[in-house]
């Protein structure tokens, strides 16, 4: 039997061919994984697995890491919409949000309509946390606001409610039927988490427009896209079927995972 042992020259030639073959393998072969393909849907199922496993191994009230004043080294980086181009919003802004209300609706026994003054009068929590964007960057800032659990308690959430849906004022996309405004949701475990606050303050000052004035959500155990800005209504639901495309959020309806804990 001929023994297969090659010379150095043959070896280098083969290695070169191998390397160029790798470069030519071009990954548009896998572009069939585009949105709504069956294979992608199947793979997306792992998000549910991640969600369940992370919930299992993480204490219900386990806190996200908190930092010190010394860690605040830069302004909070804004992302997404930073100046809502919307007449309703601009009108509220001109009046410094005096006419703005936070509505709490849906599966609650006592729907609420809270003014900024009412929210400011409620007990607050201040936390220095790291904001992790789905894109990969992080930024540490100090957030002040009302724990969402206090607002939910006041509204008396009905037992069949499963998610808190955040409806926002910022147009994120122009749809055929008009502007689509940002929306998102979390489960009630994260909604009631001690660090989940409706933030009106950033780094000791009122929340600026670019970061979501007058009110944004902080969900510290998830990625940034799970923390909607420019809030004006919180709706308690038991299903996403009537919310946007039915997946629980604007980015979720555009291919992103609903669970943003990873």
């Amino acid at each position: 039997m001929q023994k297969f042992q090659i010379s150095r020259r043959k070896f280098l030639t083969a290695a070169g061919i191998g390397a160029s073959g790798l470069a030519l393998s071009g990954c548009d072969v896998f572009d069939g994984l585009a949105r709504d393909s069956a294979v992608r849907d199947f793979m997306e199922g792992t998000n549910g697995l991640t969600y369940r496993v992370q919930r299992l191994i993480t204490g219900r009230d386990a806190l996200a890491q908190e930092f010190t004043e010394a860690d605040i080294r830069q302004p909070q980086r804004p992302n997404g919409v930073t100046a809502p181009d919307d007449e309703f919003y601009k009108g509220l802004l001109r009046n410094d949000f005096a006419d703005w209300r936070l509505e709490v609706t849906g599966l609650v026994e006592k729907p609420l309509s809270l003014s900024r003054a009412q929210l400011l009068a409620m007990p607050s929590r201040t936390q220095i946390t790291r904001h992790d964007c789905v894109e990969g960057w992080s930024c540490i800032a100090k957030w002040t606001g009302v724990p969402l659990s206090l607002v939910l308690d006041e509204a008396k959430v009905k037992p069949q409610a499963r998610y808190a849906v955040f409806h926002c004022m910022d147009p994120i996309e122009q749809g055929l039927a008009g502007d689509i405004k940002y929306y998102g949701s979390v489960d009630l475990i994260d909604a009631r988490h001690p660090q989940t606050i409706l933030a009106y303050g950033l780094n000791g000052k009122p929340l600026p427009v670019e970061n979501g004035a007058p009110l944004r959500v902080r969900v510290e155990r998830q990625l940034g896209y799970k923390m909607p800005k420019y809030l004006h209504r919180i709706e308690l639901v038991d299903t996403f079927s009537a919310i946007g495309g039915g997946k629980g959020g604007y980015w979720e309806d555009n291919g992103y995972d609903w669970y943003g804990g990873i």
């Binding site: 023994k3 386990a62 990969g136």
Partner: protein, 292 residues
């Protein structure tokens, strides 16, 4: 043709024709998990580069320096008077990498993107799908690593084949010398560089990949806050994740070259069927332990 090396090789070849025996080298567990890892790592790499492209800059510490400088690597594009250029900046050293890194062509259009279309899944910018693919194969990788670990503890693969012995260290210089000369002695046992390379990937690089990956998860940060701290902060973890990727790619290239050099048919047969053709023992060597 009076080259002693060639004569030696010819002798070895005729000897192996007589004495080279097929041995059962790789268990079904090893072979199956090997190929699942190969597929998973391929998709993890290309979807990982897709995710990297969403923010093609790496930092040291907890956060990303926008108002200060803690950058390690940036693969970006910018407009110059001469037109758009792609650049790669490593530890402050800037290189023009137009065409491949920072700026590459999609058809006739120059597009600013970290890694080029041929290196990402999908080929176009789609962070959401990149994440779906990445986490799917991350789960597959973790589960098969655990299956492999259990099987290898049970069937002795770990202790018998992978754990370096004292004699392996003594043999290391000789093994390196023969690898550099691309002269291999094929035996059932792994040689020392193989034990170190496979062991390093399975017990250092891949666990480091998983840990740095978990350290980037905000929920894991609440579950085990010490993890990101131990790794130097979330952004350092992201940088280590990237560096470990480079080492894994380096391992893959050397792995392929060694297989080509040592005889791809025999090597492939062993990782597909389990059966491996060995060389006769070298004189003076008690065991046949210097393989490829």
């Amino acid at each position: 043709m009076d080259n002693p090396h060639i004569r030696e090789m010819a002798d070895a070849a005729s000897a192996s024709a007589e004495a080279g025996t097929l041995v059962y080298r790789q268990s079904a567990w090893t072979r199956l998990t090997h190929w699942v890892w190969a597929i998973s790592l391929f998709f993890l790499l290309l979807s990982g580069l897709q995710i990297f492209n969403a923010h093609p800059t790496l930092y040291i510490g907890d956060q990303s320096g926008f108002g200060f400088d803690n950058e390690i690597l940036a693969i970006r594009a910018e407009n110059t008077p001469e037109g758009p250029v792609g650049y790669t900046r490593v530890f402050g050293q800037r290189f023009d990498t137009s065409g491949v890194l920072g700026l590459s062509w999609v058809g006739d259009t120059p597009v600013g993107r970290g890694f080029p279309a041929w290196a990402t899944i999908p080929s176009y910018q789609d962070l959401a799908t990149g994440r779906v693919v990445h986490f799917f194969f991350a789960w597959i990788l973790v589960v098969t690593l655990l299956v492999w670990l259990a099987a290898s503890l049970a069937n002795g693969h770990l202790r018998r084949d992978l754990a370096p012995q004292l004699q392996d260290l003594r043999r290391l210089p000789g093994d390196i010398a023969s690898h550099v000369r691309l002269r291999f002695h094929h035996a059932r046992e792994y040689n020392t560089p193989q034990k170190l390379a496979y062991g390093g990937v399975l017990f250092i690089l891949l666990p480091l990949m998983i840990l740095t990956g978990l350290a980037m998860s905000p929920t894991m940060n609440a579950a085990i806050p010490f993890l990101a701290d131990a790794l130097g902060g979330r952004q350092t973890a992201r940088t280590i994740h990237f560096a470990a990727m480079l080492l894994l790619v380096g391992f893959f290239i050397i792995h392929m070259l060694m297989i080509l050099a040592a005889g791809p048919i025999n090597e492939l047969r062993s990782i597909v069927t389990g059966w491996y053709r060995t060389d006769p023992p070298i004189d003076g060597e008690t065991n046949s332990g210097r393989s490829a």
